[in-house]
C-alpha cells in the first residue's frame, strides 16, 4: 500500500528552510500595520525615520537568520551553504547559490533602506518600505526557484513591487513616467516570457528545470537547436523576458528613463537586487535547463543559443558604454553603465555554459554580480546625495566635491575605478575571472569567445572615459552654485560600505570566489536527477545524504573543497565504496518520531 506521505509534516519541515523569506514578508506587514495604526497622525518626516529604523532592524534580523541558516550543522545551522534541499515538492530549492545570493540581497536591502532615510520623496512611507521588503522576498524566491511556474510567479512578484515603488515620488512627474514605462514594457515582456515558458513546457512535458534538461538530453543529446524551430522560438521568447529584466540591449529602452525617473534608492534596488535575481534565474534556465540547446557538440558557432547570447552580450556592452559617454545626468549615466555591466555578465553566462568544468563555472558570474551590485549601490547613493541637496542629478553638480568632503570623494574615486575594472579593486578581478573562464572553453569554442573577451576589454577601456568624467568634476572643477551640503550618515554609509567591499574583495578576492565556487558546486550536477517528491521515502535528510555522496565524487575527481567560514568538513565521510552512512538527521528536536524511524530504516 502506498506509504503515507504526510504532506503537513513535509511542509512544516520545509518552512524552516525559507525562514528569511518569511521574516521579510512579516516585516513588510509589520511596517504596514505600524504605519497605518500607530504613526498615522505623525508628520511625514518622523514617520519616515521611525519606519526606516523599524525596517532596518527587521532587515538586520533577516540577515542574521540567513547567516544562522548557513552555519554548518554541528553549529546548529542547516548548512544550506553546502547542501542542496529541494523544498515544497521541488518547486524551490535552498542551496549554496541561493544562500549566498540571499545574503547579498538582504545586505543590499539594508543599504538601500539606509539610503532611503536621506530625504523625503514621498508621504506613503508604510507602503514604500513594505513594497521594498516584498520586492526583496520576490528576489529571494526567484533565486531559489527550481521550476518554470514558480520562476514566473516570483519574477512577477518582484517586478510588480518594483513597478509601484518606481512611481512613488508623487511630486515629480518623472517618477510617474518612469513607473509607467517600466510597467508597460515589463508587462509586455513578461507576457512573451510566459509564452516562451509554455513553449518549453510543451516541448519537454515538464516544468521542473532539472527535468527539462533531462528531457532535452534524452531527446537528442546535445544537438543544439538544429532544425528545432519551436525550440528556437522558446529560447527567443525566454531571452526577451530575461533581456528585459537584465536590461540587455534590444530590451533596454526602459532602463535609462526608469533609472533616472525613480527615486535614487529605488533605482539602486532595481539596478542591483533585480539584476542579481534575474541573472541567477538566467543561469538556471539557460545554463541549467536549456543547456543541451546551447550548441551542437562542442562547436560554439553551431546552431544553439550560444551565438545569439554572444551577439546580445557584445551589442549590449558596446551600446551601453558608448551611450554612457554622452550622458550629463549621473543616474542616466549609471543606467547605461549598468547596461554595459549586464553585457559583461552575459559573457560570464556564456563562459558558464561552455567551459570545461561545468560544476563550478558559474562562480565568476556570481562573484561579478556581488561586486557589481555593491559598487552600484555606492554610486547611486552619490546620486541620492545630489538629489537631496540640489534637486537635480547632473554630473557637474559634483564640481569641487574633492575639496569639501575629501574622504567621501576618495571613496567615490575607488568606486568608479572598481566599476571601470582597475586592477587593485574588485571590479578587475570580477572581469578577470569571467574572461579566464570563457577562455578555457572547449577547443572549438575558444575562437569566438576570445573575440568576445577582446570586445569586453575594449569596452572597459571606453568605459573609463565616462567614469573618469565624474572624478574630473569632483577634483578639477570649481564648485558652481550652492555647494553640496555635508553628506549625513544615510548617504555616507552606503558609499563607505561599497568602497570597503570593492577594496576588500579587490585585495583578497579568494574567499568570495571560493564561496561562489562552493555555491555553484552545491547545485546538482547538469545530468543528475534530483530525488523528487514523488518517491515516497524522500526527505530533506535523504537529500543531504545524496549531497554528501556527490561532494565525495567531486573530491574524487580532484576539485578541492574548502567550505567558506572555516567550518569543519561535514562529518559524514563518504567511504570510497559509495556506501554512505546517513548523516546526523538535520533537525533532532523538530523531527516527529515517525519520520526518524523511517530514516533509520
Amino acid at each position: 500500500m502506498q506509504q503515507e506521505i504526510d504532506p503537513l509534516k513535509v511542509l512544516s519541515g520545509d518552512m524552516l528552510y525559507i525562514a528569511p523569506e518569511i521574516a521579510l514578508t512579516v516585516l513588510g506587514l509589520l511596517v504596514l500595520i505600524y504605519d497605518f495604526a500607530v504613526v498615522r497622525k505623525r508628520p511625514s518626516a518622523e514617520r519616515q525615520s521611525r519606519l526606516a529604523w523599524l525596517t532596518l532592524f527587521g532587515v538586520v534580523a533577516t540577515f542574521a537568520i540567513q547567516l544562522v541558516m548557513m552555519l554548518p550543522q554541528d553549529w546548529g545551522g542547516f548548512d544550506t551553504a553546502n547542501l542542496y534541499f529541494p523544498l515544497f515538492s521541488g518547486t524551490i530549492a535552498s542551496d549554496g547559490t541561493s544562500s549566498w545570493m540571499n545574503l547579498t540581497v538582504i545586505g543590499l536591502l539594508g543599504l538601500i533602506v539606509i539610503m532611503s532615510m536621506s530625504w523625503s520623496f514621498t508621504e506613503h512611507w508604510g507602503e514604500y518600505f513594505a513594497l521594498l521588503c516584498w520586492a526583496g522576498v520576490g528576489m529571494m524566491f526567484l533565486i531559489a526557484s527550481e521550476e518554470l511556474l514558480t520562476l514566473f510567479l516570483t519574477l512577477e512578484t518582484m517586478t510588480l513591487c518594483l513597478y509601484m515603488v518606481t512611481a512613488f515620488e508623487k511630486t515629480r512627474r518623472r517618477s510617474a513616467e518612469a513607473g509607467l514605462k517600466y510597467f508597460v514594457y515589463g508587462s509586455v515582456s513578461s507576457a512573451l516570457f510566459l509564452f516562451g515558458l509554455s513553449l518549453i513546457y510543451g516541448l519537454t512535458g515538464t516544468t521542473r528545470l532539472d527535468a527539462i534538461r533531462f528531457a532535452l538530453v534524452s531527446q537528442g543529446g546535445s544537438t543544439g537547436l538544429s532544425g528545432n524551430v519551436a525550440g528556437a522560438m522558446a529560447v527567443l521568447l525566454v531571452l526577451v523576458g530575461f533581456g528585459f529584466k537584465i536590461a540587455a540591449v534590444p530590451f533596454h529602452q526602459w532602463a535609462p528613463d526608469a533609472y533616472e525617473g525613480a527615486p535614487a534608492p529605488v533605482t539602486a534596488w532595481v539596478a542591483t537586487g533585480s539584476k542579481i535575481a534575474s541573472f541567477v534565474a538566467l543561469l538556471k534556465v539557460l545554463g541549467g535547463a536549456l543547456g543541451p540547446w546551447a550548441m551542437k557538440g562542442t562547436d560554439v558557432t553551431s546552431h544553439g543559443w550560444i551565438g545569439l547570447v554572444a551577439v546580445i552580450s557584445a551589442v549590449t556592452m558596446t551600446y551601453g558604454n558608448f551611450a554612457a559617454l554622452a550622458q550629463k545626468n549621473l543616474k542616466r549615466m549609471l543606467a547605461y553603465s549598468s547596461i554595459a555591466h549586464a553585457g559583461y555578465m552575459l559573457v560570464g553566462v556564456l563562459a558558464a555554459s561552455v567551459s570545461a568544468n561545468q560544476a563550478s563555472s558559474t562562480a565568476p558570474v556570481l562573484f561579478y554580480l556581488v561586486v557589481y551590485s555593491l559598487t552600484t549601490v555606492g554610486a547611486f547613493s552619490v546620486a541620492a546625495w545630489l538629489v537631496r541637496d540640489k534637486g537635480t542629478d547632473q554630473i557637474e553638480d559634483l564640481n569641487g566635491l574633492g575639496r569639501r568632503s575629501p574622504l567621501l570623494a576618495v571613496c567615490i574615486v575607488l568606486l568608479m575605478l572598481s566599476l571601470i575594472g582597475m586592477p587593485p579593486l574588485a571590479g578587475f578581478f570580477g572581469k578577470l575571472y569571467m574572461f579566464m573562464e570563457s577562455l578555457n572553453a572547449g577547443d572549438k569554442g575558444r575562437l569566438p569567445l576570445t573575440w568576445l573577451v577582446f570586445l569586453g576589454l575594449f569596452n572597459s577601456v571606453v568605459s573609463a572615459f565616462y567614469y573618469v568624467r565624474v572624478l574630473k568634476a569632483m577634483y578639477l572643477r570649481e564648485p558652481s552654485g550652492t555647494p553640496l551640503a555635508k553628506a549625513g550618515p544615510t548617504i555616507a554609509i552606503p558609499i563607505v560600505a561599497a568602497t570597503v567591499a570593492a577594496v576588500a574583495f579587490g585585495l583578497y578576492p579568494a574567499p568570495l570566489l571560493d564561496a561562489m565556487r562552493h555555491a555553484s558546486l552545491t547545485r546538482p550536477g547538469p545530468n543528475t536527477r534530483v530525488g523528487t517528491q514523488a518517491d515516497p521515502n524522500w526527505t530533506p535528510a535523504h537529500a543531504a545524504a545524496e549531497q554528501i555522496r556527490k561532494r565525495a565524487e567531486a573530491e574524487a575527481n580532484g576539485i578541492r573543497m574548502v567550505p567558506m567560514g572555516g567550518g569543519s568538513a561535514p562529518k559524514a565521510k563518504a567511504s570510497p565504496k559509495g556506501e554512505t552512512t546517513p548523516p546526523k538527521a538535520p533537525r533532532e528536536s523538530g523531527q516527529p518520531k515517525a519520520k526518524q524511524d523511517r530514516e533509520s530504516k
Binding site: 503537513l8 512544516s12 506587514l29 504596514l32 500595520i33 497605518f36 495604526a37 498615522r40
Partner: protein, 119 residues
C-alpha cells in the same frame, strides 16, 4: 461520470435561453409597434439628455472590484481547506488562522486608508 452531469447544465442553459427568448418572440408577433421620435430617446424624467452617457467610472468602483477579487480568491483557497479539514490535524487550523489574519490585515489596511467609505 462527473463530466456527463455537466451535459444537463448545457441542456438547462439552452433551455433557459429558449425560455427567455420565447416570450420576446411572441412579443414581436403580438405587440403593437408605433415608432415615434420622442418615444425612442432615453427617458430622463422628460429632460432631454445632455452630454455623453458612457462616462468614465469613479475610481471608487475599481477599488471595490479589487477588494472583491481579493476576498473571492480567499474563499477559493478556503474551500479546499474546509473540504479537507476533517482529515487534517489542528496544524491546518493554525495555518488557516495565519491566512485569515493576513487577509484581515488587508481589510483593516483598506479600512484605515478610508477606501471602504463610499463617498
Amino acid at each position: 461520470m462527473i463530466l456527463t452531469q455537466y451535459i444537463f447544465v448545457g441542456l438547462l442553459l439552452l433551455g433557459a435561453i429558449g425560455f427567455a427568448l420565447a416570450p420576446l418572440a411572441v412579443v414581436l408577433l403580438v405587440a403593437p409597434v408605433k415608432r415615434s421620435k420622442s418615444k425612442s430617446d432615453t427617458y430622463e424624467c422628460g429632460v432631454l439628455t445632455t452630454g455623453e452617457t458612457w462616462i468614465r467610472f469613479r475610481i471608487q468602483y475599481y477599488i471595490y472590484a479589487l477588494m472583491f477579487v481579493v476576498f473571492d480568491i480567499e474563499t477559493v483557497f478556503l474551500y479546499p481547506w474546509a473540504v479537507a479539514y476533517g482529515g487534517l490535524g489542528t496544524f491546518a487550523l493554525i495555518e488557516m488562522v495565519v491566512f485569515l489574519a493576513l487577509l484581515s490585515v488587508g481589510l483593516a489596511y483598506a479600512w484605515a486608508k478610508g477606501v471602504l467609505r463610499w463617498v
